[in-house]
């Protein structure tokens, strides 16, 4: 079955040089999606052609031969009705199981995935690597390594779409979404905005550069970075005055943030919440919505004063505090 599909895909690939039929397939999931697409196409063509052929056959065979012709009645046929109810049902169940398991398997990034942060903004993509390199409308990634992209938006809903990887996810203001991929072929591929976002929606495009590991390491070191995301976050932490209350030893007016990342936090309401990216973001833009026990709700909101990229940098800083703590404990 797979061999047959493969040879068909090869044939289609050859035809694609004349009129484009098939997009580049350059990620670990692209082939699986294409197989499903191919089978769906076969099913569509089979039923469309069968129904057309049947209609044409009936049209000729049962054409009206005299104006007063009256055909005899056809009896209702329960077995036939059940057949064409049950067979399509079975086909759709098969497709559902296949498509869903493919989706389900690929819905979570592997643990080892490299994190990259993307902020959509009318009408460009701001991209940050944890090492500190920042790019606009360009994304450099190493080949054969899982990459996880955390998405958000500074204004309206955008959608980060890389057709060659068969991945797409909305960048929604006010929340974090995630997609991941593992590029399998070195090359340059389109990034599109897949959700209409205003005047220059069609110009909100870019390129993803898939590089060999050595090229990637070279590119990463040659960039204009001078500090990592966490270091930028630390600088912001001081500039914005966070540090005056969130004192590391816990003696400030706000809680110490050392070692909180990834831990459960008890709220004033008694509810337990995981301290993760979305939690820290909420604590920055709308602190009074998650009051803590033992701390008065005196923190001002920072909404409108910092952009989403800076929020991500602050999160990276808080996260780095957690890591330091764990390391310290280990020693």
């Amino acid at each position: 079955m797979n061999g047959l599909i493969q040879s068909w895909l090869n044939f289609i690939g050859a035809a694609a040089t004349l009129i484009p039929i098939k997009p580049a397939a350059a990620s670990s999931i692209a082939e699986g999606v294409d197989h499903l697409y191919f089978v769906l196409t076969v099913i569509t063509l089979f039923f469309t052609i069968s129904i057309f052929a049947t209609i044409f056959y009936f049209m000729i065979k049962f054409r009206r031969r005299s104006p007063n012709e009256v055909p005899e009645d056809t009896k209702e046929h329960l077995a036939l009705e059940l057949t064409w109810t049950i067979v399509p049902t079975l086909i759709t169940v098969f497709l559902f199981v296949w498509a869903s398991s493919l989706y389900f398997e690929n819905s979570r990034p592997p643990r080892a995935a490299t994190e990259i942060f993307v902020v959509g903004k009318q009408w460009m993509w701001h991209i940050q690597h944890p090492e500190g390199v920042r790019e606009i409308n360009e994304l450099h990634v190493p080949v054969n390594e899982p990459i996880s992209i955390t998405l958000t938006s500074d204004d309206v809903i955008h959608d980060f779409y890389i057709p060659a990887f068969r991945v797409k996810k909305d960048a929604v203001p006010g929340r974090y979404t995630e997609l991941w991929f593992q590029a399998t072929k070195v090359g340059t591929y389109h990034i599109f905005c897949g959700q209409y976002c205003g005047a220059d929606h069609a110009e909100m495009i870019g390129w993803v550069y898939v590089m060999s590991p050595t090229d990637y390491a070279q590119w990463l070191s040659g960039g204009s970075k001078n500090e990592t995301m966490a270091q930028t976050g630390e600088r912001l932490f001081t500039q914005l005055g966070c540090v005056t209350c969130h004192v590391a030893d816990g003696t400030g007016r706000g809680p110490s943030l050392v070692g909180v990342y990834g831990k459960q936090q008890k709220l004033a309401s008694g509810e337990m919440k995981m301290v993760d990216g979305p939690f820290i973001r909420q604590a920055i833009v709308n602190p009074n919505s998650i009051p803590l026990p033992n701390y008065p709700p005196i923190m001002p909101t920072f909404q409108g004063q910092i952009n989403e990229e800076q929020v991500l940098q602050l999160i990276a800083y808080v996260k780095s505090l957690g890591t330091q703590q764990t390391e310290a404990n280990g020693k």
């Binding site: 054409r63 209702e76 309206v156 797409k168």
Partner: protein, 549 residues
């Protein structure tokens, strides 16, 4: 359906020119604008939605011309964004939703069930006026500079960022919704309470079943879109945080509310077309419909399941994967009743006596295009492929196969089928067949390349695009010009036929159904005597020498 008339209709032998009918019963603009006759209101709707169809179509033609070149051949991106928005808003809310229910439904529901009018004739007239007021707001929005949010009005772009006429447009759609609700209410009451003696539920023509299912969606779904657009207007005017996260709202909430109406709305557009199909296929093959109860109940099950699939528009918004799984399986499920209908229509042809007048050609075109449209829906119900295809031209092609290839083909087939009944005149059949063929070819050339564009990854709503997509875009634009001409041909010969077409008798197609037993055009009161029904729908068999008038 066969029926026994209590008395012979005396109007039968009198030529239509001298006989009193609903068209010549009284004259003057006032007699039209204040009419409560469902047949005249149907014609008021027909005129209004035809105007809106050609306005919306004009925008589409400009879009396709613009896309001939990758950098855009015609207009600035801001203008292009307004073109696709106005095209969508006008076609969806002011043409497709009212198309078959408000014209053919208004005309035929009382006639098919042997009633003299709808249950609430004044309410019926009111619903047309509401439609006109809504359309006026929307056309005002076009003139005042247009709107650029897409017909989907996604927040927070529509509520906090767009600088265009969002409020007038949303208000227009909001107002027009009430005309749908009133029409739905009118149909439900009429179908329940005003059926002729002997016309039991399972003797009803399937068009009536389809109208009934559509009316349920009108009544249950339309209030939700009205509320949603009202909330959108509140946020835009008063900055109350409902959808915009910057002021405390949730943009995804808007999508839930919007699609809770707008997915069932797709079935508002296609269910009436399916009803028309059952009438056309039976008449032109002189067969009882194969599997009457399966076709009837599939309409109802579509209406119900359609309310449970809205989340398949949101697979890539970051919605939970478990929600995605449930919406995916329900979306597959809604395909089954549609498949059942297609198989039953095909089986109806078996051992029939098939003739190929223009309405039948539209009907056969419908089956082919609707099958394609339905099956390509499976690509989008499948989670793994939807991630890639969502938001691309594949979506555009898929829903145009359903809404244009399906709903508009059925609408045109229905207009051609009942035209002699509505006007008492026949159009030139050769031209009508030619137009059906032109539309079929033009349609496929326009939209088939868009499936390919979508798979290649070209996003929809792009005013400019990478050069590698140009060949397929040019093919699509070429098809659109053929399609545009295809739609103009019926406009010309149908208008021509009103004055010059040969007069026809009560039943030019030899069709069953109560509407064919009264003169063409019908008298104001529809039937001299209310008919008594004694047989099932589509009882073509056994009746020798089918009368042609």
């Amino acid at each position: 359906m066969s029926s026994t008339l209590i008395a012979e209709i005396p109007g039968h032998e009198i030529p239509s020119e001298s006989r009193l009918n609903y068209l010549n019963a009284n004259y003057g603009i006032k007699s039209w604008l204040l009419t409560t006759d469902h047949k005249r209101i149907a014609l008021l709707y027909l005129g209004s939605i035809t105007l809106m169809f050609f306005v919306g179509g004009f925008f589409a033609v400009l879009m396709r011309l613009h896309l001939i070149e990758p950098e855009g051949a015609l207009v600035a991106p801001e203008v292009y964004n307004k073109l696709f928005t106005m095209h969508g808003v006008i076609m969806v809310f002011f043409f497709l939703v009212p198309s078959i229910p408000a014209t053919l439904g208004n005309f035929l529901v009382p006639m098919m069930i042997g009633a003299r009018d709808l249950a609430f004739p004044k309410l019926n007239l009111l619903s047309w006026y509401i439609y006109i007021i809504g359309a006026a707001f929307t056309l005002y929005a076009v003139i005042s500079g247009g709107v650029d949010t897409g017909w989907t009005f996604y927040t927070p772009y529509s509520s906090s960022f767009s600088h265009t006429s969002v409020i007038p447009t949303a208000l227009g759609v909001f107002i027009t919704g009430f005309s749908s609700i009133l029409t739905g209410l009118n149909f439900v009451v009429t179908i329940h309470k005003m059926r002729a003696p002997g016309l039991t539920w399972f003797r009803l023509p399937l068009f009536i079943w389809a109208m009934y299912a559509t009316s349920i969606i009108f009544i249950l779904g339309t209030p939700v879109i009205a509320i949603t657009l009202f909330l959108l207007a509140l946020e835009r005017l008063l900055h109350i945080g409902i959808f915009d996260p910057a002021i405390g709202g949730d943009p995804i909430l808007f999508q839930h509310l919007f699609w809770f109406y707008s997915h069932p709305a797709v079935y508002i557009m296609i269910l009436p077309g399916m009803g028309v199909m059952s009438e056309l296929i039976t008449c032109f093959s002189r067969k009882r419909i194969f599997g009457y109860s399966f076709v009837a109940f599939s309409s109802l099950s579509i209406a119900i399941i359609s309310f449970l699939v809205w989340g398949h528009h949101m697979f890539v918004t970051g919605q939970s994967i478990y929600a995605g799984l449930i919406f995916s399986v329900l979306s597959f499920l809604v395909a089954i009743p549609s498949a059942i209908k297609v198989f039953n229509w095909t089986a109806t042809l078996y051992k029939g006596s098939i003739s190929y007048e223009a309405p039948m050609l539209y009907a056969l075109g419908f089956i082919g295009l609707f099958t394609m449209g339905g099956l390509t829906g499976l690509f989008l119900a499948s989670l793994a492929t939807d991630v890639h295809l969502n938001g691309t031209y594949f979506i555009v092609a898929h829903f145009h196969y359903i809404m244009v290839g399906g709903a508009v083909m059925a609408y045109l087939g229905g207009i051609h089928f009942w035209w002699p009944k509505i006007t008492g005149r026949m159009y030139p059949d050769a031209w009508a067949r030619f137009a059906a063929l032109v539309i079929f070819v033009g349609f496929n050339l326009t939209f088939f390349p868009q499936f390919m564009l979508g798979y290649l990854g070209m996003p929809r709503r792009y005013a400019v695009y990478p050069a590698e997509f140009q060949v397929l875009n040019v093919m699509s634009s070429a098809g659109a010009s053929i399609l545009g001409i295809g739609y103009l041909i019926p406009l010309i010969y149908l208008i021509w036929s009103i004055r010059y077409g040969p007069a026809v008798g009560p039943n030019p197609w030899g069709a069953k159904g109560l509407e064919w037993q009264t003169p063409s055009p019908p008298p104001t009161e529809n039937f001299e005597e209310i008919p008594v029904v004694t047989e099932d729908a589509y009882d073509y068999a056994g009746t020798t020498g089918v009368a042609r008038g």
